[in-house]
């Protein structure tokens, strides 16, 4: 499992008045395999931006984002896409499932980016859905409860068994019971499966379950930097 190591990560933009507004400024940040890291902070503190930079969805102005030996900030976009596909599983607040597809088809979506047939991964998709207690793999996800939908999203994130899981407010749209199930699942992925789990959240239960809480304010880490 890879270790995340961020150095001198900085992202700024022109505020339209000739000044540079700093969105994120991290001299250093690390996360180890099997560690469940929660990122907290007020709105606009740069939590989601950090997540997108760690996933290679956005490019920093300067600095490195190293997963083991791979500095994804230095990769081209196509290589970052390919890397992300295999190394990162994403979980979102609003699940971002394809409503017209079944649970199983949703789990298989990342497979469509790589190969013409997802048939080879179908057993794994079914196993993941069973693991997360999703009852009807062939049912359209639009008919699922919010908790079930998030569990489908978790299964999708694990299709390629990535070493890192990045979650953006994974419990914000769920009730307490469903949220607790997701937190438990994320913690298990870190502790039992040895994955690096980084979750942006305001949820106290999630923050309590995390191994470490990193607090951001105005783009800077104010607490919990390793």
């Amino acid at each position: 499992m890879p270790t995340l190591s961020v150095e001198n990560l900085r992202l700024a933009y022109d505020d339209g008045r000739g000044r540079r507004a700093v969105v994120l400024d991290l001299p250093g940040f690390t996360a180890r395999p099997g560690e469940f890291v929660a990122v907290a902070g007020p709105s606009g503190s740069g939590k989601s931006t950090l997540l997108y930079l760690l996933a290679g969805l956005d490019q920093p102005g300067s600095g490195t984002v190293r997963w083991d030996d791979t500095d994804i900030a230095g990769l081209g976009e196509a290589r970052r896409d390919a890397w992300r596909r295999r190394h990162v599983g994403f979980v979102f607040q609003d699940f971002h499932l394809v409503d017209e597809l079944s649970a199983e088809e949703n789990v298989l979506v990342p497979a469509y980016f790589e190969r013409w047939s997802a048939a080879a991964l179908r057993p794994r998709a079914q196993a993941l859905l069973a693991q997360f207690g999703v009852p009807e793999a062939r049912r359209r996800v639009a008919l699922f409860s919010r908790g079930e939908r998030q569990r489908v999203a978790l299964a999708r994130a694990l299709l390629f068994d990535p070493p890192a899981i990045l979650a953006d407010e994974p419990t914000a749209s769920l009730d307490a019971i469903a949220g607790a199930a997701v937190v438990t699942a994320l913690a298990a992925l870190a502790r039992a499966a040895g994955k690096t789990v980084i979750a942006v959240s305001h949820d106290a239960a999630l923050l309590a379950a995390a191994d470490r809480v990193v607090r951001l304010d105005h783009g800077r880490i104010v607490e919990g930097a390793a």
């Binding site: 989601s48 997108y52 996933a55 969805l57 956005d58 976009e77 196509a78 896409d81 390919a82 992300r84 596909r85 295999r86 990162v88 994403f90 979102f92 607040q93 609003d94 971002h96 394809v98 409503d99 017209e100 597809l101 088809e105 298989l108 979506v109 990342p110 469509y112 980016f113 790589e114 190969r115 013409w116 047939s117 997802a118 999708r156 953006d168 407010e169």
Partner: protein, 496 residues
């Protein structure tokens, strides 16, 4: 990569909108396909209808009018080919078939055409049932004419049947007036007739075949028809047909009657049915030309007292006819005859020449329709592209999600392009079928009204048109695809 599950999911997500897009494209393509397929069917059908008419000889004037009368059986006012010119044609060694055509009457709305048995055989390649006419008062009918074999009919003078035959028969009427210019042999204009003008009431004892009066008589006599109360004098004509003292009548007055239609007294019996020809002749009633001459009081074309029909004719007793169909024995003969009969008294032309003029007009209209269709199709496809851009805004987050899950820009590009191009392609294929269906329907309607078989088909031009739309759609699809390709996913993800 395999974008199709996402494309299909997107289609399913907006079934109604996507269905509307497809329908719009289908209608636009169908419009173009129907126009081009129908135009080609019209050209084919009209050209095929003229196939049996190798060379047409007529009086100088509008070739189109002659073509419409001879081939499409829509006779109008026409000058006549003089009898001596017809005799000359019969003497032509280069002609394998010479067939006079005479019009002017109808029965139950079906045009009556006078010609020869040989031309019937030439046109339909034999009969479907019965036999060909062997006497002046016998007739064969076209394959689609709603007349049964064995029926005895009396013609209505003119092309429109104002009342039923029975009503006319009961009324029985006579025409009186001044003929301004007589002499069928001279060939002169008569509205709605096409066959001579001086109608001699010549009746006599006997039954068909008819032996109409001498040509000289015909020129001198007036026109009189009545049922049952005329004195006859000419041999071979039923006693109840023509009045021996027929009076001259005015042409204008007669013209008015043509529009209304009035019944001739001479009945004929249907003895055969032609094979289908796919031409207006399928609804025609074909009688010996001698019958038409007799009905209109003209010379019989044969020696006095002779009752047979068909060639050889007596040259000095041949009345004029509106048109003569000639089959030359070679291409050289065709051009030779065409040149030989182009003088002050006759003109000769190949149907293709007159069709060419008609097609030029048709082509102009078709081109205009084609341009309008193209404009419509372009607008539809452009409207779809705009609609798709709007739709893609709704899916902006979905594509951002795909990027977050590891999809490349190329995957998003191909997905969006496939989505838009797929809509256009499906619409084009449906439009091709729909246009074909419309063309078949219009062909059937036109065939019903004109009698011309117009087999509508999908050809290269229709495939080209549909392919063109698909190509334009594929090009336009690049726009939303490129927009989606360039759009960074983070902004859309932040909308969560």
């Amino acid at each position: 990569m395999n974008p199709f599950p996402i494309v299909l999911a997107t289609l399913r997500g907006h079934r109604l909108t996507c269905g509307l897009f497809v329908l719009l494209v289908a209608l636009a393509v169908a419009l173009g396909v129907a126009v081009t397929a129908q135009e080609r069917a019209l050209r084919k059908g009209s050209a095929r209808a003229a196939d049996a008419f190798d060379l047409i000889v007529a009086a100088p004037g509008s070739q189109t009018d002659v073509l419409l009368a001879a081939v499409y059986l829509r006779p109008t006012a026409m000058e006549l080919v003089p009898g001596d010119a017809l005799a000359r044609l019969y003497a032509e060694p280069r002609a394998t078939l010479v067939a006079p055509l005479a019009f002017g009457d109808s029965v139950r709305g079906n045009v009556i055409v006078g010609t020869t048995a040989a031309f019937v055989d030439h046109l339909s390649g034999g009969l479907a049932e019965g036999r060909s006419f062997a006497a002046a008062t016998e007739a064969v009918v076209g394959a689609l004419a709603p007349i049964a074999l064995g029926e005895q009919l009396k013609p209505i003078h003119g092309m429109h049947e104002a009342e039923s035959d029975e009503d006319h028969a009961d009324a029985g009427h006579e025409h009186e007036g001044e003929h301004d210019a007589h002499g069928a042999e001279d060939g002169h204009r008569e509205d709605g007739h096409g066959v001579g003008e001086a109608h001699e009431a010549a009746a006599g004892a006997g039954s068909p075949p008819v032996a109409p009066p001498a040509a000289g008589d015909a020129a001198a006599e007036g026109h009189a028809h009545e049922d049952g109360d005329h004195d006859g004098e000419a041999a071979g004509v039923p006693a109840d047909h023509h009045d021996g003292e027929a009076e001259d009548h005015d042409h204008d007055a007669h013209g008015a009657e043509v529009a209304e239609g009035h019944q001739h007294g001479l009945a004929f019996t249907v003895v055969g049915r032609m094979k289908p020809t796919g031409t207006p002749w399928d609804r025609a009633v074909v009688v010996p030309v001698e019958y038409v001459w007799a009905v209109h009081g003209l010379a019989s074309g044969h020696a006095a007292g002779e009752t047979r029909i068909g060639p050889p004719f007596a040259a000095e007793r041949l009345p004029g006819v509106p048109a003569v169909v000639v089959s030359p024995d070679s291409v050289a003969a065709a051009y030779g005859l065409r040149n030989a009969y182009r003088d002050t008294r006759t003109t000769a032309f190949f149907p293709a020449e007159a069709l060419g003029e008609l097609y030029a007009i048709l082509g102009d209209v078709a081109r205009l329709l084609g341009l309008l269709t193209l404009a419509t199709q372009s607008l539809v496809v452009a409207a779809i592209a705009v609609g798709v851009l709007t739709l893609l805004e709704l899916y902006r987050r979905r594509f951002a999600l795909l990027r977050a899950l590891g999809a490349s820009r190329a995957f998003v590009f191909v997905t969006v392009w496939s989505f838009v191009a797929g809509l256009v392609a499906v619409g084009a294929i449906l439009g091709l079928g729909l246009g074909y269906g419309v063309a078949i329907l219009v062909s059937a309607v036109l065939a019903g009204s004109t009698g011309i078989a117009m087999p509508a088909g999908i050809g290269a031009s229709e495939f080209l048109l549909a392919g063109g739309i698909v190509a334009v759609g594929a090009l336009l699809a690049l726009i939303p695809a490129a927009i989606s390709y360039r759009r960074p996913p983070v902004a859309a993800l932040r909308q969560s």
